[in-house]
């Protein structure tokens, strides 16, 4: 009797599991039907859909994509992840890539794809709307916005006079436990490249060793955390790009800030303008629409969206100026580091690995 009842109960559970299985597989199946993209439209007109692999901050991309779709009728499927993971993914995908456009925070991920021959040439008119120094030397991706590296410091713990004037000074033992930076962020690699260009590989390794020692206790995973920790007084200074601070200020909605930005001395190796850019995949079956999207990013319309959004990066195309309160891009005096110097960033990565920071 008991055994029979038990078997009956177990059968019910078995049936329940089976039903759940069927339901789940069915549900997952349903989800797939809507995910395919529309067939290619040769003209790249209204009704087309393109796929954007997005390594840029989502708030920036979202505003641009909405404006683009409103202007052209072309829909954009956005896939967001770390730009380097996306670059890896596109290398794996090769000619079968689903991506039409790749939009990144920094140039090395684009340079990597360019080096692998996966990018198509950008239309000449698009390239012409941005100063040539901000785009690919091989003309297969275009600069969209600029980002400036700087120090963020806690205004209750530091005065502007105490701040180091050079990124090289940050390795001084007197800053031990007082400085934070994120060696794993792609924003840090250009600084390493720049330092190595200035003082050589050996000098860069010495500098990195000092930086590593000073980082103790404040090795936060990303720049967002660093700027928040500086603002809250957990650490005195952080090495970031300026827009992180503006974004923190925007998200705190007028609450009192306990931190401020400071630029390094002119032409200091830590004083960099980095470029966020976009390129069209050679394998894209929607070349016209994809080129249209990249052209929109650098157009006056796109650049104005960027300037008005919560992105706080510098517009660089079509003569559009930065939002109020930011120091004008023209007045900046960064180190003379070119896109070509940065490459795909692998030399910087190797130095970081030798310094045991990666």
């Amino acid at each position: 009797m008991r055994l029979r009842r038990r078997l009956a109960q177990r059968t019910r559970i078995g049936v329940a599991v089976a039903l759940l299985t069927v339901a789940a597989v069915g549900l997952a199946g349903c989800g797939s039907s809507g995910s395919g993209s529309a067939p290619a439209g040769a003209a790249g007109g209204s009704g087309d859909t393109i796929t954007l692999y997005n390594g840029q901050h989502e708030q920036t991309t979202d505003a641009l994509v909405k404006a683009f779709t409103a202007a052209t009728g072309i829909k954009v499927n956005v896939r967001s992840d770390d730009e380097t993971v996306l670059a890896q993914q596109m290398e794996q995908e090769g000619r079968a890539s689903r991506a039409d456009v790749f939009y990144t925070e920094n140039s090395p991920a684009l340079a990597e794809l360019s080096g692998k021959g996966l990018l198509a040439p950008v239309e000449a008119s698009t390239l012409a709307s941005v100063p040539a120094k901000y785009s690919s030397p091989t003309r297969d991706w275009v600069g969209v916005s600029a980002r400036v590296s700087a120090i963020v410091y806690n205004t209750e713990k530091m005065t502007p006079a105490q701040l180091p004037k050079s990124v090289m000074d940050l390795a001084d033992p007197k800053w031990q436990g007082k400085i934070s930076f994120a060696p794993g962020e792609t924003d840090f690699q250009p600084i390493v490249t720049s330092v190595a260009k200035t003082v050589g590989d050996q000098g860069a390794l010495t500098w990195l060793a000092g930086m590593k020692a000073n980082l103790k206790g404040h090795d936060y995973p990303d720049n967002e955390t660093i700027v928040a920790k500086v603002n809250s007084g957990d650490v005195e200074m952080g090495l970031i790009n300026t827009y992180y601070w503006y974004r923190l200020r925007a998200s705190l909605k007028g609450a009192a800030m306990h931190s401020a930005l400071a630029l390094f001395a002119p032409q200091d190796p830590g004083y960099l303008i980095n470029v966020s850019g976009a390129g069209v995949l050679k394998s894209s079956k929607h070349q016209a629409a994809a080129q249209k999207f990249v052209a929109f990013l650098t157009s006056a319309a796109g650049q104005k969206v960027m300037a008005a959004s919560d992105s706080f990066e510098y517009p660089i195309g079509s003569g559009v100026l930065a939002s109020e309160g930011q120091q004008p891009l023209d007045s900046l005096q960064p180190a003379p580091l070119t896109i070509g110097n940065l490459g795909n960033g692998q030399h910087a990565v190797q130095l970081l690995q030798q310094a045991q920071l990666l």
Partner: protein, 554 residues
């Protein structure tokens, strides 16, 4: 080496080996002959599950030996090896200690609110590692490095030991313990000499899964700033554009996983054939008597409360804090309902698939036994040591080269999840196959039933609780999966985890909190069900029995 803390000595043997002993070689030969379909299915599952390993070998091969050598034999690698091994040993030991103690208290004592504890003690497993990690590091910023990682991971993973050990304690025949006591052994001696050895398969199995899970863990360590092989593999992939190098490091991780598996194998294959409770005696077993805690009640309840407070209360407090914080973010919003629906659908499909995959392998390896079965079983478990990122990139590779039409479809994501979490499903299914008497199958078959009918009418009903547990375990783990999801999710589809990632990545913790709460809520349902199922599992028939017998405890 990683499981060196498990009880030494004792007398049980592995289930696979012992079933051989129990059933005799002639019958084994018959069964072997009768199960070609099961064998073929098991091998097919093993091939599928091991595809990521083949991918790793191909990738590492591309890098060439020179580069692999520079990467593997640098100072950082030894540091990583030390970190990973130290962490694995400490956390596995701590999880075993806590898991066994908690299981013993819940199953064998008259602790108040027993059923409540049975559920509360399982729930921490439903909290995503990155939530626990962030909770600790935001409330106690000093919690980081090795000891921070040990603390956070132990609190998150001990249910993996608690669950099987509690089930084993319920299923164990109390007669042996009673005999030991009647022969004059003290309570502690009886526990160490009789109870603990009978728990060995459950304890070692749980410890093994804990250890392998640690190898693959990423999210929590990134937040706690603790470098392991897996965090470095992520760095190589993410920053280094160096797939081959990352693959080489992943192979080192596989080697570590094999060491853990081998250690478990050595520890669980002791001497002799006695000690395993035969399935027949299980059917006849009685409810063990519950020990009266008496004066120990207060300290024991206090300890359980402390455990629940640390493992459950603290993350809950952090989530509540986030919820009350400003939800302001500069990020665009998406529909939480749609994200939750995607999460639930993908996870449920993956849980079903993983359970179905685990079924033939569990049946085959437990009932057939022997060396081939042991290899099959162990080789598929090693996948648990691989990070989700590696499995996802392997899925990209195979899909692009051999089945481009499935790329970035929900189906591929579900298959990748199923491979990623197959070991969890296997462990749960196997546990209940071990409990189910093969004799009933044989009787059914001797009565002329076809094998398929026997499977549906007899075997599956008997092991249904294990299948349900496997489904729930995989479901709740898949709900909180992040890295593979980011790579394989269909473009434009958001899940709760990808949305949490987007906000958390932007340090918008207030905005991320509702997603984390939704994740925990979805994952808590199966955790609760597992807790209940394991609680009721083998003792349903004895619900009428008095829970304690005062006389027997003295």
């Amino acid at each position: 080496m990683t499981l060196a803390t498990a009880p030494a000595g004792g007398s049980t043997v592995t289930d696979s080996a012992s079933s051989t002993v129990a059933t005799g070689s002639s019958r084994r030969w018959q069964r072997q002959r009768r199960r070609p379909v099961l064998a073929a299915l098991s091998v097919a599952v093993a091939v599928l599950v091991l595809l990521p390993l083949v991918f790793l070998i191909l990738q590492a091969g591309q890098a060439g030996w020179g580069e692999v050598r520079t990467l593997l034999f640098r100072r950082l690698t030894w540091q990583l090896l030390r970190n990973t091994v130290e962490l694995a040993v400490l956390v596995t030991a701590a999880c075993m200690t806590i898991g066994v103690s908690a299981a013993w208290v819940v199953e064998r004592t008259n602790v108040p609110l027993r059923r409540v504890w049975a559920v509360l003690l399982v729930l921490p497993f439903a909290i995503p590692d990155f939530v626990t990690g962030y909770a600790w590091s935001s409330i106690f910023p000093s919690v980081h490095g090795l000891w921070g990682a040990v603390l956070v991971m132990t609190l998150g993973l001990y249910p993996l030991v608690f669950l099987p050990v509690a089930a084993a304690l319920r299923g164990a025949d109390p007669a042996q313990e009673e005999v030991a006591r009647s022969l004059g052994h003290g309570r502690i001696r009886t526990f160490l000499r009789v109870t603990l050895p009978s728990l060995r398969p459950a304890l070692l199995g749980g410890g093994l899964v804990v250890c392998l899970t640690l190898f693959a863990e990423f999210g929590a360590f990134e937040i706690l700033r603790f470098q392991t092989f897996t965090t470095t593999i992520f760095t190589e992939f993410q920053i280094g554009f160096n797939g081959p190098a990352a693959s080489a490091l992943s192979l080192a991780l596989v080697a570590l996983g094999l060491v853990a598996l081998g250690t478990e194998g050595l520890l669980s294959s002791g001497r002799g054939g006695r000690g395993r409770i035969s399935a027949a005696s299980r059917q006849a077993s009685r409810m063990p008597t519950r020990r009266r805690l008496g004066g120990w009640t207060a300290p024991v309840v206090l300890a359980l409360t402390a455990l629940a407070a640390l493992a459950l209360g603290l993350p809950a407090a952090a989530l509540t804090y986030w919820m009350t914080q400003s939800h302001n973010t500069t990020l665009p919003g998406v529909s939480m309902v749609a994200a939750a629906a995607h999460t639930a659908a993908y996870s449920a499909a993956a849980a079903a698939l993983a359970t179905i995959l685990a079924l033939p392998v569990a049946l085959y390896t437990v009932r057939r036994g022997g060396r081939v079965a042991a290899i099959l079983q162990r080789s598929t478990l090693v996948v648990q040591a691989l990070p989700g990122l590696v499995i996802a990139l392997a899925a990209v590779f195979y899909a692009i080269h051999y089945a481009p039409w499935v790329y970035q479809t929900p189906e591929l994501l579900v298959v990748a999840y199923a491979i990623l979490f197959y070991p969890l499903a296997f462990v749960a299914v196997r546990a209940s196959v071990v409990l189910a008497p093969p004799r009933l199958d044989e009787v059914a078959r001797s009565l002329g039933r076809r094998p398929a009918a026997v499977l549906v009418r007899v075997t599956i009903p008997l092991i249904a609780p294990g299948l349900a547990a496997a489904f729930c375990l995989v479901f709740l783990t898949a709900v909180t999966e992040l890295t593979a999801t980011l790579i394989l999710v269909p473009t434009g589809v958001e899940t709760l985890a990808t949305q949490f990632w987007a906000y958390q990545h932007d340090a918008s913790y207030g905005a991320a909190a509702p997603y984390a709460v939704a994740l925990v809520a979805i994952a808590a349902i199966p955790s609760y069900l597992i807790g209940r199922w394991f609680d009721r599992l083998p003792s349903r028939r004895s619900t009428g029995a008095a829970p304690t017998e005062a006389g027997a405890s003295q």
